[in-house]
Amino acid sequence: MYALIIDDSRAMRRILRQIVEPLGFHILEAGDGQEGLERLEQYHPDVELTLVDWNMPVMNGLEFVKAVRGDDQYQQMKIAMVTTETEPAQMARALMAGVDEFVMKPFTSQILIEKLKLIGVQCPDAA
């Protein structure tokens, strides 16, 4: 089972990988939404979870979510937006587009894992 991490910051991708990989996921990485869509097409239907940043070049996180949720084959995949965006109006836009959960930067590993559990992410190595 795969988790896809989309963030233009390699440092942030590394941090997220260090938290999610021990849960039992194989990790895919992408530097923007467009690259993320390409990874999804390659690895569908084995991507269980996507963690996506909002503010990215080429295709931002909101555009990525709209593209994914507009495609029937990706409806079951969980999407968590990992972002500094905290404005209620912006969060509402993302939720309406199909985001399952928000994780605000800065976060701790415990917060991220709790959020993933809340949306029913099935961690391969979970007891």
């Binding site: 233009d8 910051s9 390699r10 440092a11 942030m12 590394r14 941090i15 260090q18 503010n55 990215m56 070049p57 972002t83 500094t84 965006e85 905290t86 404005e87 109006a89 930067k105 800065p106 976060f107 701790t108």
Partner: protein, 149 residues
């Protein structure tokens, strides 16, 4: 809500210590004209128009990147060092944007060599907090450029 020095320090602490586990100690202000420094800047535009800058000697940037990438300092590339500092200013700027009321947007971070006090000149009179991060200097500055009617 507007940003004051205490709020700025709290945000910097949340990012550096709370998330990244870096050692952070408030310190005296130090000069920003070191020749071997990196400057990471992000712009907030809209109802609140401002620039947020993380200014740090290269040795601090390397220590931060080493922590974030879990790599030795010798293994790090220049791109990874800049990426790490860029992500710090991205998180600080994003959190500040969330605190100030109104509709504003965050740019992508821009990281480069520090030339003098770029992008602010010596007349800078915005908010500034100075810290020792992993023992080395780290300065965060906010310049509010909002034109108030």
């Amino acid at each position: 809500m507007t940003i004051d020095e205490q709020t700025l320090q709290q945000v910097v602490s949340d990012v550096c210590t709370g998330m990244l586990g870096l050692e952070l100690e408030p310190s005296e202000h130090f000069g920003c004209d070191e020749s071997d420094s990196l400057s990471a800047v992000i712009r907030i535009s809209g109802d609140w128009d401002s620039l947020v800058q993380v200014l740090t000697p290269r040795r601090t940037a390397v220590a931060i990147a080493s922590n974030m990438f879990a790599m030795s300092e010798e293994e790090l590339s220049e791109a990874e060092i800049r990426d790490a500092v860029g992500e710090i200013v991205n998180m600080v700027g994003g959190n500040l944007k969330g605190i100030v009321e109104g509709d504003s947007a965050l740019s992508l971070p821009c990281v480069g060599e520090c030339v003098g006090a770029a992008p602010f000149d010596s007349t800078f009179n915005g908010l500034m907090v100075s810290n020792r991060c992993q023992g080395d200097p780290l300065v965060v500055r906010v310049l509010d450029r909002t034109v108030h009617a």
